[in-house]
Symmetry: D3
Subunit: 277 residues, 6 copies
């Protein structure tokens, strides 16, 4: 159950509005690495957890609600960059068309579709999709997905931080980057709290997997190469359950010919008797 207060989680100010930055911020809202993704991802993961996982469900839902607040902060940053832009604050006599042009040089839909507001799209205007959300039902898999989401999310935030000179925007991003540091750490800590999570899923009886190739690095080089002695071709595997080895050649041996389709699919063209004449 959710509640809200008419207040941002952290203050958002913009000294020098910049419509171009408003466009870039969309990536952190509706992009593959954005806050809509993590907010919804953490919820769907939490809703799959049965009895005995209270601490993980709380961890997920506490964070999900925080991420909803981050979408709100970023949306506020977008309107502040779009609406207070220097272009529009120019002389009264300025043509409105010039303003409109300045707006539409960036993400045209922020002007055309949203009237200078934030949208559920990325920095190229591609709509957010549920396809970005990973929620496998398996907690260990989900926690790796969360480390990855916060890792790419923090990388995005640092690139936005590098772009902007605006003190207000740098401050907001400095806050979001810090939260991503915390979130990366909390998901890794949660992984560490599980017993022996790797390989995911841990509950599959590992003796049922093919025992010849489960710790073997198989080279796909055209010409066979000697073992390069990389950490992933020799030594103990990080799951502590095997020893890495090296194979210079893929097993091979499978037949590539498909069975005949049913005649009712009309797959069959009139094959020429002599295709090469």
């Amino acid at each position: 159950m959710f509640f809200q207060e008419p207040e941002l989680q952290y203050e958002v100010t913009v000294e020098n509005p910049d419509p171009h930055f408003a466009k870039l911020l969309q990536q952190a809202i509706g992009g593959q690495e954005g806050e809509m993704r993590v907010a919804l991802q953490y919820m769907f993961q939490a809703w799959a957890l049965p009895e005995g996982y209270e601490e993980y469900r709380n961890l997920l839902m506490e964070t999900a609600a925080e991420e909803l607040g981050h979408i709100e902060m970023l949306a506020s940053a977008v309107t502040k960059n779009l609406r207070g832009s220097p272009t529009e604050m120019g002389e009264e006599a300025q043509e409105t068309a010039a303003t409109a042009e300045a707006m539409t040089r960036q993400n045209p839909r922020q002007f055309l579709s949203a009237g200078e507001s934030a949208m559920p799209v990325d920095s190229n205007g591609v709509p957010f999709t549920g396809g970005y959300i990973a929620a496998s039902g398996n907690l260990a898999g989900d926690l790796y997905a969360n480390v990855m989401a916060e890792a790419t999310g923090r990388t995005l935030a640092t690139r936005l931080w590098e772009y902007t000179d605006d003190p207000g925007m740098k401050d907001m991003l400095s806050y979001l980057i810090a939260r991503d540091t915390m979130h990366q750490n909390q998901w890794i800590e949660a992984l560490d709290s599980l017993e022996d999570p790797v390989p995911v899923p841990a509950s599959f009886p590992q003796e049922q997997e093919n025992q010849d190739v489960n710790y073997t690095f198989i080279s796909t080089r055209r010409d066979q190469q000697p073992d390069p002695s990389y950490p992933w071709t020799q030594g103990e595997s990080p799951d502590g359950k095997g020893q890495f080895s090296y194979a210079a050649e893929q097993p091979g041996g499978g037949e590539v010919v498909a069975p005949e389709p049913d005649s009712i699919t009309h797959d069959e063209p009139n094959r020429s008797a002599q295709p090469d004449e």
Copy 2:
């Protein structure tokens, strides 16, 4: 540069063809957790690597080419389940319509669009999308994405393994599950070979992030709760750079009102003087 041989990486046989399983296998081809995703993801990650990363580029490209071969194996499994199905092997007198119906009860497009073949779609028929691919340019972020991809991929493969009783399909999946075990381990090993990767990106000057909230678990519970003493609210953080703490309350304080939009957006309805009368 790529090469190919007309041979599957590993043998694929089907004893009891099952069109329903042919539909499920699509998830492992074109789904969010499928092989198209990892094959392409590893390539795009490799192509971003500059000088000095040869061992990682090789690791990525060697594995990418293997995953292409897995798509091929799964496509072979699909045609073998669709085309040799008991339904169609029935009496000659059987109505073709009955065959067609059996086919189309599953993924209709495997019959209608592909003539009983594999397709670049998932088990619900949703097309593969580049939006599934994570390639951030940052190697540590990418390696976490790869652990996650192999973790959800192996989970999918085990669920397919549980579904089927067919010895050929169980054997193929046992092979693929084993490869996913290897791949999870190799990506974790590669992460371990990096110095101090967390928080990602490591090169951002951490003193620039907000120092008040970068190791603090902020509760979003409606009613303030005491510190639950979870591993992520106390103790050293896994990156070794901070101490977890607990805050029962979000910072708050930000103003939620958006600036006035330009008049040329025609955002403004004729506000009633007294909306509440």
Copy 3:
């Protein structure tokens, strides 16, 4: 800023679990008429509102937080229908494959991708997309979008109600249908509180639009028809600003030939001198 409590907004029980219904419920979660749409739509609309619109912003955000809770209720209904299904509660001796098959006959991804959980997709497994969200920046346009969203949402809920015999599911849907009744009414009331909202946007100077066709029903029938005397071909228009009239013929007169493209686009095939010989 958002908060949450580990408690559903309204109780959700399932007497006779039904995996097929679990699939149908997805439409109300991630579908075009679903709760993800309205929750996010109301937020983005609220975040665009400037000073002076407090009552509307509150209205939108209060409702958005409620809709988040509805997603949670529906996700709970999905897991309860999937996991407690009669199929799996059968004899111990039952093959697990039979269970898996029963699961995957429905939405395969609820089993394969989510481990018997809810997903951010619709009842056909198509991922939720930001393209479902309407937030134009213009409050009147947005309120019409909201009436429409609740109208199609309530229609969906009644169809789900008709489908199921389960008392718990009927009770939950009866609650959601009632909320949609309220929400339809509140958006219409909010429209009524605006001065003169139609045609949207109200702030465009109506004298700038073409005065010949702004209240004329233009027939596109192949053969000219007499005025059918429908309410939309005669009488006063509902905005009170015009009189409906009828034209049996489209204005026409525009030239359909495109300009020559630049030669650098290589649009031009070698046109035959006599295409019709």
Copy 4:
């Protein structure tokens, strides 16, 4: 059944071609608020109507055919803005590369994919999707969808009108804005011609919905607030079937714990005995 004539519904001229405007016009063709949406939406709605709805079917199909003509007008406007642009009309000696660059600064695909033509995409190049179309089978719901579509469509057209200074483009948009005025009015008039359409769907027995919350505004504020005395918390509801009331608190009480998944989903990680140590 459809017919066509090689003539635009209304004349389209461009005095000062502008490739940037050609990009913006795409929103009105293939965007969420565009003409492809309404043309197809009205058709699918019409095709669902049974006997007794002739006047509504006619209304929908008459308008659908008109909207097809609007797509054609806008496509003509796009080629006229792209192909006759000042850049390309420059000196003979000008490098073609400069022309190409000017073209591609806008929507690159109008040049690269379409050879300076219109495309079925929006102003960011995102393809049109059937997901924009609302056709619920319920006429009242559909008519609200149509009011909304014309409201956001007219808002888009006015924003395009504000952008451009070109007399030809202003004239075309003035025509389209006028048609949207008519269409908004006709759909509202059609709604008015229905008996008692709200709440949609009207045929659901309203006594079956939960009677405690169907006219109650439920606050989701974190801290309970007194009734704000808004028009939607007191007084008669616009459907004439209830009295608005106010609840400061969500009902709550539902259990959030999901049932145990089947073991064959491998959801379960090896839970640590002491997650918090």
Copy 5:
């Protein structure tokens, strides 16, 4: 400019309604090979044609309007299969839930979202997308796209014909299959009317392309193979401008290392000094 009459292009009757067939028909409406694709594709192609192409523009627009009528026929076939189904015509006493279940076993959204009507989606419920439409601005390329569209469209129609036993549906499909025969022939004839269209685009100065590999079949086999003497490795090329030859080996020689990224992208993890220890 478009016109319409309330009459189908060809009669559509259904003797034995079948909700499953209603689902399959969606592929011919909103699928990759469906009628929405060709109708819109032919329009966008036509709108790009400049003066001198009247006969081709007419050809495209005449056919586009016909295809719109085919969508209408198919939509009619869908409602007739859904609404008159035996299930619902059963005894009065039958539970409505049984009817609903029968409906939703097929495409759930035809029941849930559309009230037993046709939708702009394919047979898996995936929405139609503008990404299916090919309109390159180059007439020869477009005509090849049209041959291909009609070829896959006719293949789809024959598969639907094989599926159904219903005399009405077989008759409708027999009509549509015939039209696809005509349309394949007309596009090939139109290609033949162009002078020398291959390679597309014909206007590119062919001496500017690499002369070493423009008629060479380059093998990608791992192990070099002798020329297989296929029609595409020897003899004159069909464009009449070259002689096919065979190369057993790809040219190769390009450097795969990417340049260093800017430091502000934070791509660089802390590389371990000894990755292989």
Copy 6:
């Protein structure tokens, strides 16, 4: 089974890096006409072929592996245009923000999401989709799809060639254009090697199609026109199986009224007794 070598298929150099061109090149990677499409399309087509089609399977797989190498070349071209750009090579003192701005003026996600690398998206940033891939199971249909893919692909490459002045880029494109020439020719040659492929599918018994309209050009002009004597209204059809004829009028005669929906869909609004009063 696939193999790879750390070497590009053909050398890729960039003399004057241009971030704008890096954006345009994305169209050739992840666009509708791009190399991801053809590489995957040829694979899926090959995997459907049964015994007796070895030469076609080889043709498809040989080319597929080559196209994978083209994606790699283009990805290399992208990083070389992004990372070595003049902007970043400027004075040391230059603000990093200026660099970032230059980067993000183009495809923001190449900077924000990918750290100055190539992505699986088109030139507008729209992700690659499996919906671009045509693999019908019918070889003749597939070969037409391949001619079309190479035709639009070569058109795209020539437009990129016209855009750039960079000698390295012109050289790479000259190579790719040449390969497209070869590929167009090889697919046409393969079509020619089939016996009598048109109309596709050839195996459908043509006497089952409606014999009245299978070689008739049916005009959709509003007003009946005389036979225009085009090559597609008279003379022998290119499949050699019919004579073109001309009909000035569509057959017509079909009933447009849909059957009554089930009451449980709640489609029915309260129809007004007198809609036109």
